[in-house]
């Protein structure tokens, strides 16, 4: 019997196979897709740490796919959207009430309830085939473009606000959802969400390889390993989150994929959760600020209904319709804010990968005005503010400026300018 739980990302209560129970802290991350260069350093950092042994061929807990065509497994998102559309034709829509949006369609849990079958399913999903798992980076760098003419460039191809020739990289790990599809589907209750940090894990002793989780996870971030006959997934590098890495003396440290990111697209942290599942007010936590205050970072496919805890700053050159489907109705506001960032947002964006430790609080020290200009018809003033990040113990772990420091090389080297 399904329960009613509140999902803030879709603005309403929804049906879920388990009763509400929330962790004290929630693992969360915010990726800035405008910065990702698709180098796959994150992918390899994860792979070389956790999934290198026999049977690892399909274990890509972290992957970076080229959108719109790429996907691992192939077309995972299109397939889930299609299943939902088939279950609720023409009604997968968002409604606006004042400033708030509500999803009026069916989530993967609600759509499954309506399915008439011999064996009732808890979650609407599908099991990808071999063909769909075969290439982790299929369609890499493959762009959408207008039909071209030989030996000519499209002069309109890369004009903002929306590029006509385009692709973007979508970096993905497990979203450690608030209402995980994998957890809901497991017939053995082998999947659990940790009370201390909301990380979703598979109990390797309990798992019996039913693969219901593989079918149920709409993001397809649970993978079955045939050599051990059990399923595996991203563990959010929990020993690092627990502070067991000797480098940080007991302080939580960001995951391998985050700290390896050379494009500095990733910021990972922990957000405090109230007993009722809402986010505790934590105004100066960088993730809280980006997601709940500035609202510049959005969940991936919120309409699936799992309340994912991975958030993305959408790429600003991609057509809005495509992005709205992917990130929900908050898209326009998020892009507007990112295109012409205010003083605080610009400062917080400097915190990305300046330290390996998890920043739980930031502070901005105001600096001098550098210049004024107009961006996309809006006034913009740049201040050289300093932003300071603190760890769980309140100790300063990072200090950086909005304007990058400028160093002049002394005139004593042969190649000095």
């Amino acid at each position: 019997m399904n329960q009613q739980v509140y999902n803030w990302q879709i603005g309403r209560k929804m049906s879920y196979p388990h009763a509400e129970a929330h962790p004290e802290w929630q693992f969360a991350f915010c990726f800035n897709l405008n910065r990702c260069i698709g180098c796959q350093t994150c992918t390899m950092a994860c792979k070389s740490t956790w999934t290198f042994s026999k049977g690892q061929e399909q274990m890509w807990w972290n992957n970076v796919e080229t959108k719109p065509y790429g996907g691992y497994p192939q077309f995972w998102d299109v397939k889930v959207l299609q299943l939902l559309e088939e279950a609720n034709p023409g009604a997968q829509k968002w409604a606006r009430k004042g400033e708030e949006f509500t999803f009026e369609g069916k989530t993967i849990f609600e759509a499954a309830e309506k399915r008439v079958g011999l064996e009732p399913e808890r979650v609407l999903g599908y099991l990808p085939t071999d063909e769909e798992w075969r290439f982790p980076n299929i369609y890499e760098d493959t762009a959408v473009s207008r039909k071209g003419k030989p030996m000519t460039f499209d002069p309109e191809g890369t004009k903002l606000p929306e590029h006509k020739t385009r692709f973007f990289y979508l970096a993905r790990i497990c979203n450690h959802c608030t209402y995980p599809g994998c957890l809901a589907a497991c017939p053995r209750n082998a999947i659990y969400k940790r009370h201390e940090d909301g990380i979703v894990l598979i109990d390797q002793e309990r798992c019996r390889g039913y693969r219901k989780c593989v079918a149920a996870c709409p993001y397809k971030k649970v993978m079955y390993r045939p050599t051990t006959h059990i399923s595996e997934k991203c563990i959010a590098c929990y020993p690092r989150i627990e502070g067991n890495d000797p480098a940080t003396k007991g302080m939580p440290i960001q995951t391998r994929c985050m700290t390896a990111c050379i494009g500095q697209i990733r910021l990972q942290g922990l957000v405090r959760i109230n007993k009722d599942g809402s986010w505790a007010e934590d105004r100066y936590n960088p993730l809280y600020y980006l997601i709940r205050v500035a609202k510049v970072a959005l969940p991936l496919y919120p309409q699936f209904g799992t309340e994912p805890n991975g958030y993305y700053i959408p790429p600003r050159w991609v057509p809005r319709g495509y992005l709205r489907q992917m990130f929900g109705p908050g898209l326009d506001e998020a892009l507007e804010k990112y295109r012409v960032p205010d003083r605080e947002l610009l400062a917080v964006l400097q915190l990305y990968q300046r330290t390996k430790e998890i920043i739980v609080r930031y502070e901005i020290k105001e600096g001098k005005k550098v210049y004024e200009t107009v961006i996309h018809g809006k006034p913009f003033t740049l201040y050289n503010d300093t932003i300071v990040g603190y760890n769980k113990e309140g100790k300063e772990i990072v200090r950086t400026q909005v304007e990058e420091p400028f160093y002049v090389r002394p005139d004593k080297h042969q190649n000095s300018i």
């Binding site: 011999l118 064996e119 099991l127 085939t129 071999d130 798992w133 390889g209 039913y210 051990t228």
Partner: protein, 314 residues
């Protein structure tokens, strides 16, 4: 009685059985899936982590693979080819991920032969298509073993020289040979009352594209012979696959440039007004006759020194 053994890739067997049980469950056979999962749960309880993947899982899946009738499809397919029944044979069935990796290869010596069949898991869920695929691949293997087909011994088609003057030309001949062989195989399968993977019309289209340099009459004649059930040997098919025009020089109705030996559709045969170029070519190729022609690239190459010499003289 000759010995025959079929070895199945354990991961292929597990995947096929698991997905077939899921399909059965979805189509209403709940009792089968309940029995399967409850038996499988017991295996997990008996085994510790380190031992998983061992023999008990394998024999469990093999049992269901047999029960679901997959093993017998392979056995029946092999038994329907006399040549394969008359030798010591091992068949290894491996899982591949892509359709272009599917196929069968023959290995071994005079004493014992091994056939490797590479196959995708999804092929098992359409049993008719699975049988069709096996028949097609096994008839190719039978041909390799058939003395009448005269396949050159110890030769891999992928590496063999097929009489072309370059690797590129050998590749083209190989592609055409494969098509001819497939048509020949499918025609015989049809005669045997077996399913074919492509229709005659589809093959005919492919044939016309690959042999577009032939006249309509020649295409009709050869295609009719291939599907009539006439007997062909390896060398007959290779001979058809070769392009005779590549052996002749450009000026004599062929495509080959007598100077660089590359095939070309743009040949020079009329040398009027280019006497100096002819002399320059003859300086390097004394036995060359202008009637043999040359490709446009070679012609241009010799035009350049000619124009330099003329500029130097003026």
């Amino acid at each position: 009685m000759m010995r025959r053994k079929i070895y199945f890739d354990p991961i292929l067997v597990e995947e096929v059985v698991f997905l077939e049980i899921n399909r059965a469950e979805k189509s209403g056979n709940i009792s089968l899936s309940k029995r399967f999962f409850s038996e499988r749960e017991r295996l997990y309880e008996q085994k510790r982590d380190a031992e998983r993947g061992g023999d008990s899982f394998h024999s469990f899946y093999v049992r269901y693979f047999q029960e679901l009738g997959f093993q017998s499809i392979f056995e029946k397919a092999i038994a329907s080819f006399n040549i394969l029944c008359g030798i010591e044979l091992s068949v290894i069935v491996l899982r591949v991920w892509r359709d272009q990796d599917e196929g069968a290869e023959l290995y071994g010596d005079d004493e014992r032969k091994t056939v490797r069949i590479s196959i995708r898991v999804t092929r098992f869920f359409d049993r008719e298509s699975l049988s069709g695929f096996l028949d097609q691949e096994l008839l190719h293997i039978s041909d390799l073993l058939d003395p009448a087909f005269c396949y050159p011994e110890n030769s891999f088609l992928g590496e063999a020289s097929l009489g072309g003057l370059s690797d590129m030309e050998n590749n083209v001949i190989r592609g055409r040979f494969r098509l001819l062989w497939n048509i020949y195989v499918e025609a015989r399968l049809q005669k045997m009352g077996k399913k074919r993977l492509m229709t005659t019309e589809e093959r005919r289209k492919e044939f016309e594209t690959s042999f577009s340099h032939w006249s309509r009459e020649e295409i009709d004649r050869v295609f009719a012979r291939l599907i009539s059930g006439s007997s062909f040997a390896f060398e007959d098919l290779v001979e058809l696959a070769r392009n005779a025009r590549l052996a002749k020089p450009i000026g004599l109705g062929g495509l080959r440039c007598p100077l660089c030996h590359f095939p070309s559709y743009q040949g020079i045969t009329n040398w009027e007004g280019s006497r100096h170029v002819v002399e320059l070519i003859k300086r390097d190729f004394p036995s060359w006759e202008s009637a043999e022609g040359a490709c446009l690239q070679c012609y241009e190459l010799y035009c350049v020194p000619f124009s330099h010499e003329r500029r130097a003289m003026s």
